[in-house]
Symmetry: C2
């Protein structure tokens, strides 16, 4: 039941901005620059602990590469719902073994793991969210758990109205329930809710559940050589904007 | 496993303010004045619809009297978890019959029901929450559902970091899970979390799960003749403050 909309000149004509009561945001990559921030956090930790000889940017990318497989265990039903902080930590322990980094305490590993709580937003995010919040509910719809999102928001100044996503839905995106529970918990129909993401596959899954969609490109999420998600996929994107401030302007 | 603390001069000596990382707030009565606000909302609606001959203050009090029995159906396990907006609406329909108020549309009843989304805070709340938020996570831990809390917060200017409570816990207070899930979702131990309420029974239940507790008296919640919850119960209250600004000051 994929409802497709042709995107051109800002809006697909199927979306009427005044009907949108809430915007839900993907977070990792869309709101925050995980790659640069995790790398910085790991470098700072390594410097403090005197750990040398590791390419921490590569380490951060390897950590992120374990993200989808770890959630797939839960999505598939092979594992009961488990929050992302726990999945991230399990992946981190694997990587520490792979890189032969030993002698860390549980507290050290916890601190490294909470690097994901200390990610910096893209430069337009705070202003854009504040503008959108004037007229619409704003909430993350992320696979990150509540504590991660709360700690990130307090540090980064993200003025969410509430924290929604995988933990409140007890389902990881792109499963339908992740989007549908978020709408239901706001007391809104999917057509009254817009999913905002830098990833077309997230928007495709949201659109399939009847949500409106907005694409904001983050061409540096994966570094200088990024080849994916450089442009909106017209088959599932209603609105495209260069950043959150432009999106606020599009929504009016 | 009720841990009792002797309260005097602000603090019981069992609570160290610097250990408190988050404050959870009861909402109906503690943060907002439901009695005056619901009455005003019902009066405004009745005036607009030309409905006469009803004492709307009495109606509001009757509506609130159906609150605990409606949740008890869920707490007892006789009914699956059902959000408060639905329970409130069922109670409202009963009261409309009792008062022989007919000919309302579903939209009219929905509007009346959402009176609970439009409650005014006590005068100290906005300032007090902003002060507490500087150093600690603040969230409601209410039996109200997410949409109710979000709509209330946006209208009333309540700067929550996230919305916790019955819907995220899928358990109504004073069941232990309502408090424990809220701590868990923040990634904190109960001893790092303080429950703030104007109701000693709420604090007694929170204290039994290991949370710190703060009592803020709301002597007009039930009107001029209020006899209950005028003072903290020393058996379960760690901190007492006259209002949220004073509480912020106590917490430092």
């Amino acid at each position: 039941m994929l409802s497709c909309a042709v995107w051109h000149d800002g809006y697909a004509n199927t979306v009427i901005a005044s009907e949108i009561k809430a915007c839900l945001f993907d977070v990792f990559g869309t709101v925050v620059d995980w790659r640069t921030s995790v790398t910085r956090e790991l470098q700072d930790f390594a410097r403090a602990k005197g750990i040398g000889g590791v390419d921490w940017l590569e380490f951060a990318v390897e950590w992120r590469a374990l993200y989808q497989p770890s959630m797939e265990e839960v999505r598939s039903g092979r594992r009961p719902f488990t929050i992302l902080d726990v999945l991230h930590r399990e992946s981190l322990v694997k990587l520490l073994h792979r890189h032969a980094i030993a002698h860390l305490t549980a507290q050290d590993i916890d601190h490294m793991n909470r690097a994901w709580h200390r990610l910096d937003p893209w430069p337009d995010v705070r202003e854009g969210l504040a503008l959108i919040k004037r007229s619409r509910i704003i909430a993350p719809c992320s696979n990150g758990n509540i504590a991660l999102m709360v700690n990130m928001a307090r540090r980064a100044g993200l003025p969410w109205d509430c924290i929604l996503g995988a933990e409140t839905a007890r389902a990881y995106k792109p499963l339908p329930e992740a989007y549908l529970a978020s709408c239901r918990q706001l007391g809104l129909r999917p057509a009254e809710v817009m999913m905002v993401a830098a990833h077309n596959n997230d928007l495709k899954a949201a659109k399939a559940q009847g949500l409106a969609t907005a694409f904001v490109a983050r061409p540096n999420e994966h570094g200088p050589g990024q080849t994916s998600d450089l442009a909106p996929d017209a088959s599932c994107v209603d609105v495209a904007a260069v950043d959150f401030v432009a999106l606020a302007s599009e929504l009016g």
